[in-house]
Symmetry: C2
Subunit: 475 residues, 2 copies
């Protein structure tokens, strides 16, 4: 009788595990960024909000706020950026064996963004694709990247590529936090023999329980601003210490910032990125006792007196300012070139830090070979990792840094966005409030004409809350 | 000047990647289940709801609905089951290098359950712990398990264990779906040299976009019942075909159900599990053309006539009934022993399928050595994987099957739960409606006396929606 040979035999596992050798140099093969075509300039917001000139542009270090109205959402942006990744890099849907998403602004509490993205692979007949949504504040995308890298290095790998999509819309109520709103999405292609390979075994992580930023109720987050900045910087201190300790164990000498050619930081707003980079320099200074002349004149700057390093919360304002000024030339060379999207689009949550990778490729290309990129990914709650990538020549010309650079159109796309008025921005935020968990509506803004060709957009949310998407034709 | 050696050097990666050999026989080292102490019997619900006797107990195949009131939630259940895992198996918080959670009923849209669980490791000074929440319906826990296994096999592994926690509360509005409510949590310890090792390279996955069950708005899900059953069974068909094809490629002969000694299925309710197992047998029958006598009398049962296999939606009721009856002896031996928790606690979403592992260990122990366990994990939306584990002797006596079995107290704990009335259950559901996304309250039910010693519980949600938890003392 078939199926009834129960408990009468023993089995050996179904043959040896995958014979494939463990993958090497796993990392980023290609990267794409998407941001909405509509944004508002921070100078205009300053005037509109009646705040002193410079409060948002200098105080926050931001240039624009990207916003989506109700015609785009984290799902549509994810579809747009993933389709862009496949099309521009000529990757067949059949080449993808893993797909996962990082987000903290999903449109459903059960159904993942990943299952929406599957339509791009299903149409080619490919559904044997692992991975789901990674959720933990702005860190979700970094968790997904780590999962993808681990998969490629595991015995479960079947030789195909992984795609990681980060997609978020960040909105805040009217008031001081609203200028830190933003929107954007990133898609990464992950595989072996990568032009930007992760330095394995070097990453340092910190996870803890905190209520600095969370979303317990309604559209807008609950934010404890000072606590959030404190957690971001205190965790940075801890991870720099952990990362450099791992470096020292492996290399037999201390790590210095000079060992990183580029540094990327999660960017709620750019001023915090400036402070973060200055803190790493501060740690180098106090650790090695090499106080630069430019800091000698600062009132609190006897950096050799044993009271350093100061915790982030205890840092006097004048010392912090002096450090940011001292760090500026290095910031200008190592950090600023990868902050452009975040400064012009605002906080993109999970996409924020990874948007810098595309920019680095555009500005630097093959010159990234032999260079180290240090990343600090932070998510409130708390979750954070410091890790590093190294540029390298790849045997696959399809994904060489030179080719990726030649194909990049990032600056051009940023430049051709459509500036909107603060009133348009306010209307979009009012719509977001109305649309939160709502059904039975058709999008109102922006007009389809305002979307770039090839952009996915919401057509309707029906009475049963099902979301229907379509794509604006390419050209 | 420190930190300014910008772009003037090239680097080689920081030494070779981890020299550790790739881990082998990665799988489940230990498993714990937690369910609320309070539940209502399905017979009593039948009487209370005025439905025919047997509608829930036979029609759904369920015995009880576990419910939590407002004193427990997916976070507190996760804390309880994870602490239980560490304490009972004498695992130090310092031995954990990865911790992630699967859930579809989180209490926050940004902050993960994982960050709440970190308090159990933080108190020992361990925060360098990767992993976040995996969200995709009932499949999130399976995704987290795969992530943990991949991590142990990757170059990023540092030799420590991974913990995966699945925790969910499943609630439905008053009406026909309410008897499929439930609650529960599972914690798994993942590492190499495991007594239950995953068969790597054999798993088959199906991911697609569907609206069978989702949570777009409010506390309760949107469910298309018939579509949900259809997607569950249709995906099962597809994955059995994919899994058996992989088996055949590796072993050079077709897979039959006889090659699996145990089969576990995601269990929204037990009747669907019975149908699912019968479908696998049906596929064996049609594929091998071995029609058993017991099916010969069924009107639709000329299984050799070329019209088979029928898709799940086209299966006539009498054929399905005949198949379930025919499959019963094998179901009784291979499936039923691991369905006890799901039948008595209801749908536990992400925890559902993994609760069967603890039961298998309790009932079978060292006799699992050399036996294959087949799993079908399904999440609406759609995400599903069929995979297998093989029992094996381990060189680490701490996690031997015999020892795990000797320690098990699962049946005893199920037996000493506190039956409550349908009115209590209704009150708990009304409270859940009031508490959804609410702040500023203290829990009302059940009384602290009703919780088992060692149970974590909610003490308060404050005006800023911060959730305060405490643990009832151990004995």
């Amino acid at each position: 009788m078939p199926g009834l040979g129960v408990l009468t035999h023993t089995v050996t596992p179904a043959g040896p595990p995958a014979q494939r050798p463990q993958a090497e140099d796993v990392g980023i093969l290609a990267a794409e960024v998407y941001f909405p075509s509509t944004y508002v300039r921070q100078e205009e917001l300053e005037r509109h909000d009646g705040v002193p000139s410079g409060k948002y542009t200098v105080g926050l270090g931001q240039q624009g706020v990207a916003f989506v109205g109700d015609r785009e959402d984290p799902v549509s942006m994810g579809l747009t950026v993933m389709r862009r990744l496949l099309e521009r890099h000529n990757v067949s849907p059949l080449e993808i064996g893993r797909l996962e998403a990082g987000t903290e602004s999903s449109v459903d509490n059960s159904k993942s963004i990943k299952t929406y993205l599957m339509v791009l692979l299903e149409e080619a007949g490919n559904t044997d694709v692992e991975g789901v949504d990674c959720v933990q504040a702005c860190y979700g995308g970094t968790a997904a990247v780590q999962n993808a890298v681990n998969w490629v290095e595991s015995r479960g790998w079947d030789g195909r590529y992984a795609v990681v999509v980060m997609s978020d819309v960040s909105v805040y109520p009217a008031g001081p936090a609203r200028p830190t709103s933003g929107a954007g999405a990133v898609a990464l292609l992950i595989g072996p023999d990568a032009p930007l390979a992760f330095e394995r075994g070097m990453s340092a992580t910190h996870m803890a329980h905190a209520y600095d930023f969370y979303k317990p109720s309604g559209l807008y987050p609950a934010v404890d601003g000072p606590l959030s900045v404190y957690c971001y910087l205190q965790t940075l201190d801890l991870l720099y210490s952990r990362y450099t300790a791992k470096w020292e164990r492996r290399n037999g000498r201390p790590f210095r910032l000079a060992d990183a050619d580029h540094a990327l930081f999660h960017a709620p707003y750019n001023k915090l990125v400036q402070k973060a980079f200055a803190r790493l320099m501060y740690h180098d200074i106090t650790r090695h006792g090499e106080v630069p002349e430019s800091l000698a004149s600062c009132a609190d700057c006897d950096l050799r007196d044993g009271s350093h390093p100061r915790q982030a919360a205890q840092m006097p304002g004048d010392l912090e300012k002096a450090l940011v000024a001292h760090a500026f030339p290095a910031y200008d060379a190592k950090v600023r070139p990868s902050t452009c999207v975040a400064r012009q689009c605002g906080n993109m949550y999970t996409a924020s830090i990874w948007s810098g990778i595309s920019q680095l490729i555009e500005t630097t290309g093959a010159a990234l070979e032999g260079r180290r990129v240090l990343l600090y990914s932070y998510g409130s709650g708390i979750s954070a990792t410091m890790l590093s990538l190294v540029g390298r020549p790849t045997t696959n010309p399809r994904f060489s840094l030179a080719r990726l650079q030649a194909m990049s159109d990032l600056s051009m796309r940023l430049a051709r966005r459509l500036p909107k008025s603060p009133a348009d921005f306010e209307q979009a935020m009012r719509l977001a409030e109305q649309r939160w968990m709502a059904g039975n509506y058709k999008p109102e803004m922006p007009s389809l004409d305002d979307l770039e060709p090839g952009t996915f957009h919401l057509v309707e949310v029906d009475t049963r809350y099902r979301r229907i998407y379509a794509r604006k034709p390419l050209a």
